[in-house]
Symmetry: C2
DNA sequence: TTGTACGCGTTATCAC
DNA sequence: GTGATAACGCGTACAA
């Protein structure tokens, strides 16, 4: 079918072994080097990665396991990861587990069966066992966005705690006393951290927390809608709100629109994750931006490093900073 | 390292050939069948896909080549494709070419080098040559979203022409005479078709087209913003507008918000592609919805069919219907 | 430096 | 129905 080393060998008059050595960067006579180079170009020879893989048990493929492909936050990261990896000749098999823990395990197995050389994943459950067994098989794993307890594994995340902390702090500085938050699910790492940020800033400013202002959603649009509706219908509603991911921000805005509530007059609003959205709605939305590009690049470079056998400072834990963009959706509150 | 057929053979007392035949669904004595089954389970044997690939020259991998991973319309399709393919044991290597024609070719080569069994792609340029050469190599290709001229290739698209036609028709029925459209780039198939729909409905209703109302953007946010700004600043602005993709819809909404223009009082508005968006903005946006799930499923099933060697009605051209959802962003115009 | 021979795990072909 | 055995294309000792 396609051109093999054998073909190159016979046409160049050299042996298969020599050609192979040349391809893999070994020492070959300058003279032969030229000949081989020429023949390879003439024949259009390309290494058969799959035959090579059989021998080396390396597939030059990285598995990417993410919660959903219908979430721009995740796919942006994926896009950046792919860009970096392809430069090193790695392809990426992307699996989304549709926010389903069973599917997550299934797809992890799938990737393993496909003999990926490494795995980058955003774990959902805390099935650190599955991940552990992968690491035990000497397959490098990089966790992104969400950390896992009791596990030695390279991890790239954003400083979720301070992301929430800083946003809430701004609201406090502007005079808000009753600040609501719409969190993600308890089981999810980022949700825990963002809530911690909310709690810690209250402590630091010596403010007590009204637990009725802390709403727990599921990172989906509908919960953002429902929970914000609940908040604005309270007898004593919050004067400001932080919504902690993109989907819920979307939902919360729907609730605002339908509830005849005005931003920022009736409620100050800080959203999450999507800069474009902040410009479409009126007034412009204040927003917490995560460094998606960096996350992808750092994750990809980390796994590339491990793939090269560099085990320095393992396990690495990199915590990237978010950015808070304040716009007119937040109002200064008169202190009375 | 891992368990091989050889191991299964020696432990079961049968030959490698028999085990292989069993695995691939050949006829084996009921008696042996049981033994093999048991041994496989005990040993936890799994086929080494890469060794199998070397022999069969099949990788059980489909290449997916899309313009961008940061576009929910594309990634939704990808997600659905992946769901279908994985059920048949296929993995998908996803490449995005970042709307760059050179990158598109590069990544196509990359996929070929990875020996994918088939390719599903949304082509950008009209480099039908590259695709043709793939097909000539007997690698099935399915085009989605965008058709290519002069080429025999299975294609799955939506009826873009009538998508635009129907939207504009509704506006006409509601009494609008000056209807603007913000199109995509001339080179892109979907943009051409949507524009044709605009033109045809004007013909059918015997209305002439004011070419200053036909704006050509590039499917990016900024152009939607810029072009809608231009439209509303006209001396005689349109009374209604159709924006023909999601990003430009986003941009156009920004312009509306900043321009102190009211929807639908000052201008009736129909957007594209994203249902969620339609609920977030106020008033609720009328929108053209594409059947992303179907697109993905049909495309995946088509390539699966070809992979099985079924060449019936090749090349198939499937045209899926869009849905028009009318909301309060469109106003009935008084006929005077 | 170069060449020979063999192994990687499967599948396919043929005898039996 | 079953079992040797030759491929598949490449890497790698080892010998030359």
């Amino acid at each position: 079918m396609s051109v093999t080393i054998k073909d190159v060998a016979s046409k160049s008059g050299l042996s298969i072994a020599t050609i192979s050595k040349y391809i893999n960067g070994g020492n070959v006579l300058e003279e032969n080097r030229k000949i081989i180079d020429k023949v390879i170009k003439e024949l259009g020879f390309e290494v058969n990665e799959i035959a090579r893989g059989l021998k080396t048990s390396k597939t030059k493929t990285i598995g990417l396991l993410i919660p959903s492909l219908e979430n721009i936050f995740f796919t942006s990261i994926v896009s950046n990861i792919e860009s970096v990896l392809i430069k090193s000749g790695y392809s990426t098999i992307i699996c989304d587990y549709k926010e389903d823990k069973d599917l997550e395990k299934q797809k992890l197995d799938f990737l393993l069966k496909k003999m990926v050389d490494g795995i980058i994943t955003m774990p959902m459950g805390n099935d650190s066992e599955a991940i552990k067994s992968v690491i035990k098989r000497n397959i490098p794993v990089v966790l992104i966005d969400r950390a896992l307890r009791d596990i030695d594994c390279d991890t790239v995340l954003v400083d979720n705690l301070n992301a929430a902390y800083n946003a809430i702090e701004q609201l406090i500085i502007l005079g808000h006393k009753r600040i609501g938050i719409i969190c993600g699910p308890d089981e999810i790492y980022t949700a825990q951290e963002r809530l911690k940020g909310y709690e810690r800033v209250h402590e630091d400013y010596n403010m007590s927390i009204d637990s009725s202002l802390v709403k727990k959603g599921d990172y989906q649009v509908e919960s953002g809608y429902r929970l914000l509706s609940e908040l604005i219908k309270m007898e004593e509603p919050p004067t400001a709100i932080l919504v902690t991911n993109y989907e819920m921000t979307l939902g919360a805005l729907m609730a605002v629109n339908e509830g005849n509530v005005k931003i920022p007059d009736d409620i100050s609003f800080i959203g999450f994750d999507n800069l474009q959205l902040s410009k479409v709605v009126k007034p412009p939305l204040s927003i917490v931006i995560q460094p998606v590009q960096q996350i992808g690049e750092v994750a990809a470079n980390t796994i590339l490093k491990r793939l090269k056998g560099d085990t320095s400072n393992f396990p690495s834990m990199i915590r990237l900073k978010t950015e808070l963009i304040m716009k007119e959706s937040v109002q200064k509150l008169e202190t009375n």
